[in-house]
C-alpha cells in the first residue's frame, strides 16, 4: 500500500480528524515504527507506517477503521509503544492509529469504586488524580510511567503487584471496542460497564484483551479501583546459593499473607550482571549469589503483621536482610525499568551500549530450576556466537497469590547498532529455542509480553493446539479483510486458507 500527499485517502482522513491530526512526516513515522524490544535497526525501513493519525474519540477511530476497511489499508493501533512483542510495530505499512489524545478521565464513581477513562491515559497520571480520593488503580508494569491503559488492554498486561490486586484482565471491567469494520461494541462481563461478574453470554472481555491489535481498538475503559495503600513493605534478602533462594521464594508465595503483592527471585547470573553493569549490590560480599524480594501493600497494621511473618519465613530459609536503604531503593526502581540507561560487555570486558530485552514465559514453580539452566545454555550459545549479545540473568516473579506459576524472564543485552542479518537470525533462533524450553516444561510462551514476534510465534500453534484454529476462525470472522495489524501471530494464514 502507498499513500501519497494529496491522495484522496489523506483528504478523507483530514476531514475525519482535522488537518493537524494526520501526520505524514518522516520523523512522525520513524518514531512510531519501533518499540523498546530489540529492533533490526538495519531493516528499519521495513517497519515504517505510511502515515499516523491521532483521533480524539471513539467515533473518530470508528470512521478511520471504516475507511481503512473499505480501502483495505493496514491499521496498527499504538498506545505507549512500550510493549515487548512488537504489537505496535507495523509490518505492512499502512496507518498507525496513535490513541494518546483519547486520554480524558470521564468519570470517577466513588460509590462503585470505578473510573472510566480514555484508553490513551497513563496509570501514573491517573493515579495522581485518584490519590485525591484516596484511591489507586494498581496496574503496575515495569513501564508504569510510560505505558497507557489501551496498550495494557491490547497486550493483556502483567502487573508487578498483581498477586495482590490482579493483572490488567482483572482490573479492566469493560471497554468500548472498535471492530475492524468500524462497528463499535462494548465488552465486559455481560453488558454492564461496572459489573465484575456476569454469567450472561460468552465472556468476550478476554477475547478482546491481549490480541496485540489484531481484532480492533479499545477506546474507553472502565477500571476497578482500590483504597490507596496506607503502607508498603518491600524487603530484599540475600542468599549464598540459588537453591536456598528458590526454596525461600516458594515458601513466601505460599504463605497466604493477605497483603502479599508479589515476590521476585534473582538468579546468580542476574546478581553478577547487576554488580557488573548496574551498580547495584557492588558493596555486597561476593558470597551473595541470589536474591529474593517481596512486596506487601495495605493498611499499616496488616502490612506489619504480614511483614513479620515473611521476615520469619525468609530467615528460616537462610536469608540475610539487606537493610532498609537497599530494600526501599530497589523496590521503587522496579516500577520504572524503562528509565534505566543500559550497558553490557563484549567478551573482552569492554563496555558497549546495549538495549535490554527480556524473553518471558509463564512457568510453574517446580519447573523454574530446570528452565533456568536450559535458558542460560541458550544465552551462552548466543554470547559465544557474537559480541552483540550479553546474558543479563533471570528474574522469576510470582503471577498470583498462591505461588503456582511465575513470570519467568531472561534478560539479554543487545548491541543494536551492530545487528546484521546473521546476528538477527541467531537472535530469532534463540527466541524460538527459549519458547520451546517453556513448552517442554509445561509452561506458556509468555506471561506478560505476548508471543507474536519472530521466533517464538512459530510455536504458538503448537502451544494452543486446536485453540489456534479457533483463533484463525475468529480473526477471519471479525476482520474479514485482514486490515488489523496484518502479519502478527501468523494470522495471515487464516486468509490463505480461505482463498
Amino acid at each position: 500500500m502507498s499513500v501519497l500527499i494529496g491522495d484522496p485517502v489523506l483528504d478523507e482522513l483530514r476531514q475525519i480528524l482535522g488537518p493537524g491530526h494526520v501526520l505524514t512526516g518522516k520523523a512522525d513515522r520513524l518514531n512510531r515504527a519501533r518499540v523498546p524490544a530489540p529492533f533490526p535497526v538495519h531493516r528499519w525501513a521495513e517497519r515504517m507506517p505510511d502515515l499516523v493519525v491521532l483521533p480524539a474519540s471513539t467515533e473518530e477511530v470508528a470512521e478511520v477503521l471504516k475507511l481503512a476497511n473499505r480501502l483495505r489499508i493496514p491499521v496498527v493501533p499504538r498506545d505507549g509503544g512500550t510493549g515487548l512483542t512488537d504489537g505496535a510495530v507495523p509490518l505492512c505499512g499502512g496507518i498507525v492509529v496513535d490513541v494518546k489524545r483519547i486520554n480524558a478521565i470521564r468519570e470517577i464513581d466513588l460509590g462503585n469504586r470505578t473510573c472510566t477513562v480514555g484508553t490513551g491515559i497513563n496509570a501514573l497520571k491517573l493515579n495522581e488524580v485518584l490519590a485525591r480520593h484516596d484511591l489507586i488503580y494498581p496496574d503496575d508494569p515495569a513501564s508504569y510511567p510510560c505505558s497507557l491503559v489501551g496498550g495494557r488492554i491490547g497486550t493483556s498486561g502483567w502487573s508487578l503487584i498483581g498477586s495482590r490486586y490482579g493483572h490488567s484482565r482483572d482490573l479492566v471491567l469493560s471497554f468500548d471496542h472498535v471492530l475492524p469494520t468500524g462497528k463499535v461494541i462494548h465488552v465486559g462481563d455481560g453488558i454492564g460497564r461496572k459489573i465484575t461478574k456476569s454469567s450472561s453470554g460468552y465472556q468476550l472481555k478476554h477475547l478482546f484483551m491481549g490480541h496485540q491489535g489484531t481484532l480492533g481498538i479499545a477506546t474507553e475503559a472502565t477500571l476497578k479501583l482500590f483504597p490507596r495503600p496506607e503502607a508498603e513493605f518491600s524487603p530484599f534478602w540475600a542468599f549464598e546459593d540459588y537453591d536456598s533462594a528458590y526454596r525461600a521464594v516458594g515458601a513466601l508465595a505460599r504463605a497466604g499473607v493477605a497483603t502479599f503483592a508479589g515476590a521476585v527471585l534473582f538468579d546468580e547470573w542476574k546478581v553478577a550482571y547487576l554488580r557488573r553493569d548496574d551498580e547495584a549490590y557492588i558493596p555486597q560480599p561476593s558470597s551473595v549469589k541470589a536474591l529474593v524480594c517481596a512486596a506487601l501493600y495495605g493498611y499499616e497494621d496488616e502490612v506489619r503483621a504480614g511483614g513479620r511473618r515473611l521476615m520469619r519465613i525468609a530467615r528460616s530459609h537462610g536469608a540475610r536482610y539487606l537493610g532498609d536503604e537497599i530494600s526501599e531503593g530497589d523496590w521503587a526502581a522496579r516500577h520504572d525499568r524503562y528509565a534505566t540507561p543500559l550497558h553490557g560487555r563484549t567478551r573482552s570486558g569492554q563496555v558497549v551500549p546495549m538495549s535490554w530485552h527480556c524473553e518471558d514465559a509463564s512457568i510453574n514453580y517446580t519447573g523454574l530450576p530446570a528452565v533456568r539452566l536450559a535458558w542460560h545454555e541458550i544465552a551462552d550459545r548466543l554470547r559465544r556466537e557474537s559480541d552483540v549479545f550479553d546474558d543479563w540473568g533471570m528474574f522469576a516473579y510470582t503471577n498470583g497469590a498462591t505461588g503456582a506459576d511465575y513470570l519467568t524472564e531472561i534478560d539479554i543485552g543487545i548491541w543494536e547498532q551492530r545487528l546484521d542479518d546473521t546476528a538477527w537470525e541467531a537472535w530469532v533462533r534463540a527466541k524460538r529455542d527459549l519458547a520451546a524450553v517453556s513448552l517442554a516444561h509445561g509452561g506458556s510462551i509468555s506471561a506478560c509480553h505476548g508471543s507474536c514476534r519472530e521466533g517464538e510465534v512459530d510455536l504458538v500453534p503448537e502451544e494452543l493446539g486446536g485453540g489456534y484454529d479457533v483463533m484463525l476462525d475468529i480473526k477471519r470472522t471479525i476482520d474479514p479483510n485482514n486490515i488489523m495489524n496484518p502479519g502478527k501471530y501468523l494470522l495471515d494464514q487464516a486468509y490463505a486458507e480461505k482463498s
Binding site: 501514573l124 493515579n127 495522581e128 490519590a131 489507586i136 490507596r228 495503600p229 496506607e230 503502607a231 508498603e232 513493605f233 518491600s234 524487603p235 554488580r275 557488573r276 553493569d277 551498580e279 557492588i282 558493596p283 506487601l296 501493600y297 499499616e300 502490612v303 506489619r304 511483614g307 513479620r308 521476615m311 520469619r312 530467615r315 536482610y321 537493610g323 532498609d324 530494600s327 526501599e328 531503593g329 521503587a332 526502581a333 516500577h335 520504572d336 550497558h343 560487555r345 563484549t346 570486558g349 569492554q350 563496555v351 558497549v352 551500549p353
Partner: protein
C-alpha cells in the same frame, strides 16, 4: 558546589570497589576506566553534576514510594520485633 572551576573538575581520587568498578564518592560507583576505552569513552563530569544525578535518582525513588503508599515499613524494625 565549589567556587573554582578547577576544583569542580577534579574528582576525588578513585578507590577500587571490585575488579570492574571504582568509587570516588560515597555510594557512587563508576566503571573501571580501562573498560571504557574502545566503544564507549567516559565523559568528564563536574563533581556537582555527578552528585546532582545521584540525588535526583534518590529523589525520584522517594517520590515513587510516596506515590504508591503513605508510609514505608522498616524491615529493620520488624526484625527487631522478631528478636524480642
Amino acid at each position: 558546589m565549589k567556587y573554582r572551576y578547577q576544583e569542580e573538575m577534579s574528582p576525588p581520587p578513585a578507590r577500587r570497589a571490585t575488579d570492574v568498578a571504582i568509587t570516588r564518592f560515597e555510594h557512587v560507583y563508576e566503571v573501571e576506566p580501562g573498560l571504557m576505552t574502545e566503544h564507549v569513552t567516559q565523559q568528564t563530569f563536574p563533581n556537582w553534576d555527578t552528585l546532582r544525578l545521584v540525588r535526583s535518582r534518590a529523589d525520584h525513588l522517594a517520590w515513587m514510594h510516596r506515590h504508591f503508599a503513605d508510609k514505608v515499613i522498616s524491615g529493620e524494625e520488624l526484625l527487631h520485633d522478631l528478636d524480642e
